[in-house]
């Protein structure tokens, strides 16, 4: 082909197109930037905190506070009395620098500062302490002498509030980093168990919700009387407030006053009530020297998870089913395909993409789920997942840094599973 620039359609954008594209990007930039900041900032903050030795108590920034105490009432002229100031650093660990406090002194009272680092200038007492260690306090006892008789020395001196100032650094904004949080998280004996429980909970909860949703969609696909009512009813677990349904399940499953145990006992299915939410394992089976025990409480919270979230998959799958072309089924009928063959070779491949998307969404949401397990078991009886562990570390053990470190682990697991998913997920044809 001759190298003729006029042959064929133009390649790429022309100068005007490029200019307009630049303009468009410039105008979109603030939006991109804002969205990026909204997404990145909390994530960055989490990573930042996970590298800091910060506990719940450290969140109170170091501040100087001062209290004044006078123990004297009626004072004659020339009589002396004690004035006591106590300066405190409100932070537990962090030092406070350049601490000073000032207080106004009544004109008819003279203060003898003695050897305290204080000065009195124009009825203003000013004391400079220098550095005050974390949790430290310093006390000043000054001698005051009344020039004229005072009816109530305490009120006269305490009428003016002393003011303390100091420079402290915030533990969250200084550059003091540590790997202690991660070391503690990974060294903890229960960490791998917690990770394993999280994965079991997520995989089985997600799978259960998907399979239940698929069955529900198959049941309600064809028209029959009462279908609209059932479709509405099937949405109940998903739309009901979690605190209400969790309490309902706790009520139903209670070993002493729960209806399910009462029914099981009554019908003779069990001999003693089963503590579905409080018993770690049930019926142990020994195979080849290994003891396999059934995790009872974990299974119960997984069933709850599947029950609570099957309506979402049900809705998605039903919508996809209704949009499958009926021509295909007619052709299959003519070819003599049986109902199960039609489901297996036509419906399922058509549903594969939506099932994959649902799996990803539910996997992420279930892995991040905190409230369900926390309301049902509080993380006890072998149901502690990583998210419950975040709460446990950050609030229960008051170690914000360790909680953030667990949250980083959650993030890494989710990110890697999403990457694996995008690599291998089935895609919609065409």
């Amino acid at each position: 082909m001759p190298n003729d620039t006029n042959a064929g359609p133009p390649r790429g954008a022309g100068p005007m197109g490029k200019r307009e594209a630049r303009l468009a990007y410039t105008m979109l930039a603030p939006t991109f930037l804002i969205v990026l900041i909204i997404v990145i900032t909390p994530l960055f903050a989490n990573f930042w905190i996970s590298l800091k030795p910060v506990e719940l108590g450290d969140l109170r920034p170091p501040e100087a506070s001062v209290a004044e105490r006078v123990r004297a009432e009626a004072v004659a002229a020339g009589e002396s009395f004690d004035v006591r100031y106590t300066v405190r650093n409100s932070a537990r660990d962090l030092p406070l620098r350049d601490v000073t406090f000032t207080d106004e002194i009544p004109a008819d009272v003279a203060i003898d500062v003695g050897d305290a680092p204080c000065t009195v200038d124009a009825d203003v007492l000013r004391c400079e302490l220098g550095t005050l260690e974390g949790g430290g306090r310093e006390r000043f006892e000054l001698m005051a002498t009344a020039a004229t008789p005072l009816a109530d020395a305490e009120t006269a001196l305490e009428a003016t509030q002393p003011v303390a100032t100091g420079r402290g650094e915030n533990v969250l904004t200084n550059f003091d980093f540590t790997f202690e949080n991660f070391r503690r998280v990974f060294d903890a004996r229960e960490f791998w168990g917690v990770l394993w429980v999280s994965l079991l909970y997520t995989v089985f909860g997600t799978g259960g919700a998907l399979i239940l949703g698929l069955f529900a969609a198959l049941l309600l696909q064809e028209a029959f009387r009462g279908r609209a009512f059932l479709r509405g009813l099937f949405l109940f677990p998903y739309v009901a407030p979690v605190i209400a349904v969790a309490y309902t399940w706790v009520t139903l499953l209670d070993p002493n006053s729960g209806a399910l145990n009462a029914i099981l006992l009554q019908t003779g299915a069990v001999e003693a009530p089963i503590n579905f939410l409080g018993q770690r394992t049930a019926f142990e089976v020994g195979i080849f020297g290994f003891t396999i025990s059934f995790p009872l409480a974990l299974t119960t919270v997984i069933v709850f998870e599947a029950w609570r979230y099957f309506p979402l998959s049900f809705l998605f799958i039903l919508a996809r089913m209704q949009s499958i072309n009926t021509d295909m089924y007619e052709a299959a009928e003519l070819d003599g395909a049986s109902p199960f063959q039609q489901f297996w070779y036509l419906s399922l491949p058509q549903l594969a993409a939506i099932l994959a998307i649902l799996f990803l969404l539910r996997f992420i949401w279930t892995f991040n789920k905190f409230d369900d397990i926390f309301l049902l078991t509080g993380g006890a009886a072998g149901t502690r997942t990583l998210t419950v562990n975040v709460y446990e570390q950050a609030i229960g053990l008051a170690n914000i840094g360790a909680g953030a470190a667990v949250a980083v682990v959650v993030f890494v697991v989710l990110l890697s599973s999403a990457l694996v998913f995008f690599r291998f997920a089935p895609r919609e044809q065409g």
């Binding site: 677990p237 309490y247 009520t251 029914i263 009554q266 109902p339």
Partner: protein
């Protein structure tokens, strides 16, 4: 396709027969039916009901066999219901719900009638006009799907409606009332 045609035409042994479907439908609905009705009776009356699962299975089988061998229509359903009720009563020595006859007599009678009628109607619906012999794969799977749909709707209905009902019920009761009798589902 090839196997389906072979099953329909050759006299070789096959599990794809109307009789297998009748046994399947009878066992499933008999078991589920007696369990659901007994627990409903327990929750409504508060009586110490004990469901007799074996008798339920037998009643379901009897109803299914009648649906299989008797021509369809109201006569078939009535016969199936009557036979199911009789089986339940006979096999449990007059106590189909493990209760003496003088406890909640009316509720027991109603439960028995409802159970027998449901068994007859549901199994009759599932079986349709199936004949005992070998079946084509397509027709066989249609019946299996009818059976699964009925069981599935019941299971999902209970699974979703029961917590909903309990949620509403607990909102009308005090803690003491809830603790007093866990089987009291009245509002």
């Amino acid at each position: 396709m090839a196997t389906a045609r072979a099953a329909a035409t050759t006299p070789t042994f096959t599990l794809r027969t109307g009789l297998v479907l009748a046994l399947l439908a009878g066992v499933c609905w008999g078991l589920v039916g007696v369990l659901v009705v007994a627990i409903a009776l327990m929750l409504v009356t508060g009586a110490p009901v004990v469901p007799s699962l074996g008798a339920g299975v037998a009643a379901g089988l009897v109803a299914a066999l009648i649906c299989l061998f008797v021509e369809g229509g109201w006569r078939q359903r009535a016969m199936a219901a009557g036979a199911a009720a009789a089986t339940l009563v006979l096999l449990t020595a007059g106590q189909p719900f493990g209760l003496p006859a003088d406890v909640a007599t009316l509720a027991q009678a109603v439960s028995l009638a409802v159970l027998a009628a449901c068994l007859a109607l549901l199994i009759g619906y599932v079986m349709g006009d199936v004949t005992p012999g070998a079946m084509r794969r397509y027709a066989f799977e249609v019946v299996v799907i009818r059976l699964l749909k009925g069981l599935g709707l019941l299971a999902f209905g209970v699974f979703v409606f029961l917590p909903f009902y309990v949620m509403v019920m607990t909102s009308f009761k005090s803690q003491a009332e809830l603790l007093a009798n866990p089987l009291d589902f009245s509002m």
